[in-house]
C-alpha cells in the first residue's frame, strides 16, 4: 500500500502494483511504501467505498475525536455523525473481538468474504414487499414503514484504518434495523435501549454500552418501570442466549418464516410482563 501521510490521498494497492503513482509534492510530508500483499481483495466493491471515505488520523487526533464526539453526542442528540465518530474512534478492540467471533462462525466468515451491503440499491425493497407475511423480508419492510426509516441513512465509516474492521463496523451499522426486526423492538426509547443492551453485550462496542447505560436516564417514571420489569431482563437474557447478530447472513434469509428464524437464532420473542 502506498499512502501519503498528511496528504489527503490514498492510492489503491492495485494502482501501486501497476506502478502508477501521482503525487503532489506540496502536500506530501511523508510517504511510505509497503510491499505487503494486500489481503483485502482489491476487487471487492467495498474496497472502493472504504478508500472514498477513509480519513487518516493520528492516535492523538483519534483520542480528541473520541472525547469530543462523546460530548457532542450527549449534548446534541441531533448529530448522528458524532455518534458514528465516537463509535469508530473508541471501538478498536471491540471491533477486533467482533471480527474474531465472525471468523469463528461459518456464516460470519462468509459475510466477511462477500462484504454484502444493505441499502436501497443492494436490497430489492419492492421484492421484499411482495413476500408472504411473517417472512423476514416482509417483516423488515413492515418495520421500515411503521417506523419511517430507510436503509440508506447509515453513515460510512471514516476513522477505522483496517479495511476488515471498517467493514465490520459498517456491517454493524447497516444491520441495525434488521436487529430491531428480529428482536421485535420498535424505535422508541424503550426499544432502542433494549437493542443497545443486546448489541452492547454481544459486540462490546463502547458506543453501544454507553448508550445502554445512559439511555434509560431519559426515561419517564412509567417507562422506567416497564424497562426494569420487562425490557431489561429480556434484553439481557436475549443478549446472552441469542446468536451473535453479526453472524446472521440476513440477505440469505429474506424468505425464511420469522418463527423458524427466531428459533434458529435462539431469540425468545418479547412478552411484556
Amino acid at each position: 500500500m502506498l499512502k501519503l501521510i498528511n496528504g489527503r490521498n490514498w492510492y489503491a494497492a492495485c494502482t501501486f502494483r501497476r506502478g502508477i503513482v501521482i503525487s503532489s509534492e506540496k502536500f506530501c510530508l511523508k510517504a511510505e511504501a509497503s510491499s505487503e500483499e494486500d489481503s483485502s481483495g482489491a476487487d471487492n466493491p467495498y474496497f472502493a467505498d472504504f478508500q472514498k471515505f477513509h480519513i487518516e488520523a493520528s492516535p492523538a487526533q483519534k483520542l480528541v475525536l473520541s472525547i469530543g464526539s462523546a460530548i457532542t453526542t450527549l449534548l446534541n442528540p441531533g448529530r448522528p455523525d458524532a455518534l458514528g465518530v465516537f463509535g469508530e474512534t473508541s471501538g478498536h478492540s471491540a471491533l477486533q473481538k467482533m471480527h474474531e467471533k465472525m471468523m469463528a462462525s461459518s456464516d460470519g466468515q462468509l459475510i466477511l468474504t462477500d462484504k454484502p451491503r444493505i441499502n436501497s440499491s443492494t436490497v430489492d425493497l419492492n421484492w421484499l414487499k411482495k413476500l408472504p407475511p411473517n417472512t423476514l423480508g416482509r417483516t423488515y419492510i413492515k418495520f421500515l414503514e411503521e417506523n419511517n426509516v430507510t436503509p440508506d441513512s447509515r453513515t460510512p465509516v471514516q476513522f477505522v484504518d483496517d479495511i476488515e474492521l471498517a467493514f465490520v463496523m459498517q456491517r454493524y451499522r447497516e444491520i441495525h434495523d434488521l436487529v430491531h426486526t428480529v428482536l421485535g423492538m420498535p424505535t422508541n426509547m424503550l426499544g432502542e435501549v433494549a437493542v443497545k443492551w443486546v448489541e452492547g453485550i454481544q459486540t462490546g462496542l463502547p458506543m453501544c454500552v454507553s448508550g445502554a447505560i445512559f439511555g434509560p436516564l431519559r426515561l419517564k417514571p412509567k417507562q422506567r418501570q416497564r424497562y426494569l420489569n420487562s425490557y431489561l431482563p429480556w434484553a439481557l437474557s436475549t443478549a446472552a442466549n441469542a446468536e451473535f447478530v453479526l453472524n446472521i447472513y440476513f440477505e440469505k434469509r429474506w424468505e425464511q418464516p420469522m418463527g423458524e428464524l427466531l428459533k434458529e437464532l435462539k431469540i425468545e420473542p418479547f412478552v411484556e410482563t
Partner: protein, 215 residues
C-alpha cells in the same frame, strides 16, 4: 467555526482591514466574495450614519447573499446592494464604476486569480483602490512549524467535531498553502495593471492585506 479556528481573531483581522481601507463618503464600494456581509457591515459602520448606501456586495453563492441580506435588514442597512456574480467575470458591472474593490478571504477560492484581478482593475475608477485580505505565508520558520501543526493536526479535528466535515477543513488548510505567498501575490496584482502595490502582514503572516491603485 471561524471563531473556533482563529480564536476569534478573524474579527480583528477584518476590523484592521476596513481601518486600512479608510472609506469616506461619498463612495461606491464593491465587496466581492463577501456573501454574508462581514466586511460590508464593517464598512457601513465605519462610515457612520450610513444605511449601507453605496456598498455593493457581490458573491457567486446566492445562499450566502440571502444570509447577508437578512442580516443587513436586521442591522438597518437597507441601502446595500446584493449582487450575484463571478469574480472572474463581473459581466453585469460596467468599466470604471467603483472607488474601492475589496475581497476578504475570497480570492483564494477563485480558479483563475489573474482573471479576478483583471476584472477588479476594470470595474475600478481611475484612482480607485484594490484591497485584499487573505491567508498568506508565515515568515518565521519556527512559528511556521507551529502553525502547520495546528493547521493539519487540530483544524480538521475541529471541523469534524463542530461541523461534521473533516475533509472540507483539510481542504481549507491545504488551499492556504497552495495560494501564492506575499511577494508572488503582489507580483500578480502588479501584472493586472495596479500601481503602488504594497502588503502588510497580520499575525506573523498568517494573513496579509494587499493593496494597489488604478491610475
Amino acid at each position: 467555526m471561524n471563531d473556533a479556528m482563529s480564536f476569534g481573531i478573524h474579527r480583528l483581522w477584518k476590523d484592521i482591514f476596513v481601518d486600512r481601507l479608510a472609506p469616506s463618503k461619498p463612495c461606491k464600494i464593491l465587496d466581492v466574495a463577501g456573501g454574508t456581509g462581514d466586511i460590508a457591515f464593517r464598512i457601513a459602520k465605519y462610515l457612520r450614519n450610513s444605511d449601507g448606501g453605496g456598498i455593493t456586495v457581490c458573491d457567486i453563492n446566492q445562499a450566502m447573499l440571502d444570509v447577508g441580506r437578512k442580516r443587513a435588514s436586521e442591522l438597518g442597512f437597507s441601502g446595500m446592494e446584493w449582487l450575484q456574480g463571478n469574480a472572474e467575470c463581473l459581466s453585469s458591472i460596467a468599466d470604471n464604476t467603483y472607488d474601492s474593490y475589496t475581497i476578504a478571504f475570497g480570492i483564494r477560492n477563485v480558479t483563475h486569480i489573474d482573471k479576478a484581478l483583471k476584472e477588479a482593475y476594470r470595474v475600478l475608477k481611475p484612482g480607485g483602490q484594490f484591497m485584499c485580505l487573505e491567508f498568506s505565508q508565515v515568515q518565521n520558520e519556527n512559528l511556521r512549524w507551529l502553525y502547520d501543526q495546528y493547521s493539519f493536526q487540530a483544524i480538521p479535528v475541529m471541523g469534524q467535531l463542530i461541523a461534521g466535515q473533516w475533509k472540507a477543513y483539510q481542504y481549507l488548510v491545504e488551499s492556504i498553502r497552495q495560494f501564492p505567498n506575499q511577494e508572488e501575490f503582489a507580483g500578480m496584482i502588479e501584472r493586472a495593471g495596479f500601481a503602488f502595490v504594497r502588503h502588510e502582514n497580520l499575525t506573523f503572516g498568517v494573513v496579509a492585506i494587499h493593496c494597489g491603485h488604478k491610475l
